[in-house]
Homo-oligomer: 555 residues x 2
Amino acid sequence: MDMEKLVALCRRRGFIFQSSEIYGGINGCWDYGPLGVELKRNIKEAWWNDMVRNPPPAPDGDEISMVGVDCSIIMNPKVWEASGHVGGFKDPMVSCKFCRKLYRADQVWEQVVVSAWVTSLLDLYDPSSEKGVTGLDLKKWANGKGKRLAPNLALVRNPEVTLSWISEAAARQDGKLHFADAKQWLGYMATEQRAAGPLVTPCPACGGDLSEPRAFNLMFMTHVGAVQDEASIAYLRPETAQGIFVNFRNVLDSTRLKLPFGIAQVGKAFRNEINPRNYIFRSREFEQMEIEFFCHPDDSMKWYQYWRDVRIRWYTQLGIRSEKLRPREQGKEELAHYSIGTTDIEYLFPFSEEPQELEGVAHRGAYDLTQHAKFSGKDLSYFDEQLWEREKIKYPEPKAAQEAKSKEPYRFMPHVIEPSAGADRFTLAVLCEAYAEDEIGGEARTVMRFHPRLAPVKAAILPLVNKEGMPEKAHALYRELKRSWNVFYDDKGAIGRRYRRQDEAGTPYCVTIDGQSLQDNTVTMRDRDTTQQLRVPIAAVADELRKRLEPGREI
Amino acid sequence: MDMEKLVALCRRRGFIFQSSEIYGGINGCWDYGPLGVELKRNIKEAWWNDMVRNPPPAPDGDEISMVGVDCSIIMNPKVWEASGHVGGFKDPMVSCKFCRKLYRADQVWEQVVVSAWVTSLLDLYDPSSEKGVTGLDLKKWANGKGKRLAPNLALVRNPEVTLSWISEAAARQDGKLHFADAKQWLGYMATEQRAAGPLVTPCPACGGDLSEPRAFNLMFMTHVGAVQDEASIAYLRPETAQGIFVNFRNVLDSTRLKLPFGIAQVGKAFRNEINPRNYIFRSREFEQMEIEFFCHPDDSMKWYQYWRDVRIRWYTQLGIRSEKLRPREQGKEELAHYSIGTTDIEYLFPFSEEPQELEGVAHRGAYDLTQHAKFSGKDLSYFDEQLWEREKIKYPEPKAAQEAKSKEPYRFMPHVIEPSAGADRFTLAVLCEAYAEDEIGGEARTVMRFHPRLAPVKAAILPLVNKEGMPEKAHALYRELKRSWNVFYDDKGAIGRRYRRQDEAGTPYCVTIDGQSLQDNTVTMRDRDTTQQLRVPIAAVADELRKRLEPGREI
């Protein structure tokens, strides 16, 4: 499958539109259309149901405790000092001194090598020829295509000077132009005068000189209140997790929960990505589904494994084929400094050769609660009252001071396991996974093979023709079914075309009211994947659908 | 009921917390806790189900067409030029020249009259005395309490000068201090020297001089990308509606919908309110549930009435008593300039003497689509193909030019009816409406009488004692029920206290496993509102709950 076909289908059928498209869009933001909004709602609903309301049992078979929260996107800015986002949420960036475009320093070379001007420059090489590229070839390119494709490249800005120092540098070798690699060669082309410093890195867009890497805060900033000064600065949250940590004490006090337990949140987060790309995979505005699971430090590795396994199983049970899914334990050098271990759950998207992160399951130790306790001055530790109650008989009739001391060993900072999933990324994986082209009876079709729980429309109700009493029967059935599910009524066009349209929308079942329906009150139910049709009584359609759409939901 | 009790219960039981509370909060932002998030989810889910997936039939009994979208919060800034928000989304504001606080000009006097310093000043009046307040009283106050409460009030800053011109002004009357009203009297106290201009309006916080009213943009501003300049400015959407309008063409093209139809959206919106107040009623970050219903201009009044009636009925069917709910048709002078009519659906909150807006149902004419067509240069008109197909037989075998001309009368800009509801406001109304204090068997209790569809927890499973096999039976039932509903397991404390806790959480049913359960596999089901108990077989609990929680959902 190629991405372009999927993107075209998503736009044509109303899954995903560019945000503000009629105004030329806005980079890194996307809108979900009528089918997309139902798909994404089903994904978030499945997550909430399977992780919060009805999570899988603990390793010992016990129930586990989960609750949800829904926090504001704009929070007190001190939250981001404590979390390290204000100081540390930074990627080194480089910017072009000519066109002012910005790139992440660690990604810029990837973009240079596939840029239009480098592709054009490489075309000068004739692999069948021995002689290689001469200075004259380069000068010709600089005055021709180069002017259009890379106007700010040193070679284009000033071919004589640039070529002259290159030929000097090359002459100092053996009279021929030798380069360590393509990167060095492009660096030569981009450097007008060789000074003491390193070779210039050229801008992928215009060939101009890129700056030295510098820090750049990925949080969107705004001001709260009327005065725009230092004191009114606030940020759009770059993750939902911190809303959970700062509410830890409030949740504990209001629910009487005992460790271990989890707090979950679904919501938008924002990162001012320099280079949003790959459709809805890396956007500036996105939605997260995060759990912070609090436990005793001694049990933390057990829960780390539990959540890693639960989360992988969840994806496969919603239809992601296991060969495209990969858990990858991060190496020591990748880990955040506070993390004891992190597993990325990755999916092989069609836009990349390597699997990309769908979700990170991180063992964050006591880092977050410790930071917030320090920055807020509030006690965020946990007191294991049950254990203390059992053991305090060792201290009969304690005096207050003794009692406080005796409690010390039962008070600790919980450890945290964080399964953090991207709702948009999983939506994209579901779309990629569902997309298929096949043939029925010699006719090609495109079909979205969504898991029935996730399919935006569960069933389409189709009167074969728009007369002879069929519409009445079809409407009555539609009215019955839409009380339970998102169903669709369609009476336009040939039945084959209507089936094909539902296949593209990923509707698992088409129910057709035909001539026979008028005689014996039966209808056909067509299966999206097999295209086989089953004849069932109209009165049995709801039950048949329920059986297929809502089998046991255990994961 | 008073608000303070409700606010305390909401914090104590985990409905609503102040955002970032451990850092002192952030004004105008709130977090939903474990019970609150379920309540609000149920509200949004009820709305989506009843308005989008299964809307009530049209006046003629036909089905109506509704689809959803989910648009980004950050949109192309041109959207807000077209909508008038950049130019016009402004409230005249006044700011204090001393303490820099900002107030909405139309609300400042309300705040002045209840301020601490005015209250203190009014205390000088002795209603039992004839003599009134003397200049000496005022001077004493200015040098005492006034210094602390209103340090920047003219009377406090410079009592001699202020009192001197007041007594001159008063002397010009009849030797006594006469004032038209309290407003004028306070204006005198706030004006250090009477110049040609009007009396000063004092700051509610410090008594200082307020500025003349000036415009203030209520949208939160940010920058997208690395460069913070004019070109990178973007806004957080102040309403979800515009996301629908700019997607009108895309939705039309991708769904083949015919007029009339509605597009719905649920999502966050942001307004940089100068004076957020009344708990979650007027906050800076809030969630909307909006429909834009597109129809032929000739039918628009019919649909305006339809949506007004449907929306009022929805609130009453979810438990809002009709005597607290009031539809109020806006007067001509209140209407937005483009609006043909607007009905505010108002609720009598306990914090106000007057009912306050829960939802506005507005007839917006063709204003929004016309504006976006103009600003984007895109054709957003609707072509009524069905009508044209029927009528074009009048023009047999038309040439292309003729055909285009013949289509003209069937192309028009749809009118829009907008039912725009606030999810947080309705949540607050539901909380206010549910709150009750009563007595059972002589014991006082607080009970949240939520509609069963909205109740955060549907049932609590309570083993009477934590032994004798009761926990095993209780756990098995809990595991069965939590596959369908949000249910709660509680085995801590006396059964009476556990009932009381569930009453406060608004849980409609408590299921208790007791001694008899071990003998005959029956349990008691306690009704929250009547507190009556019914004995049913364990195996029948799920069906009994379903019958009570999910009766026919038509509205």
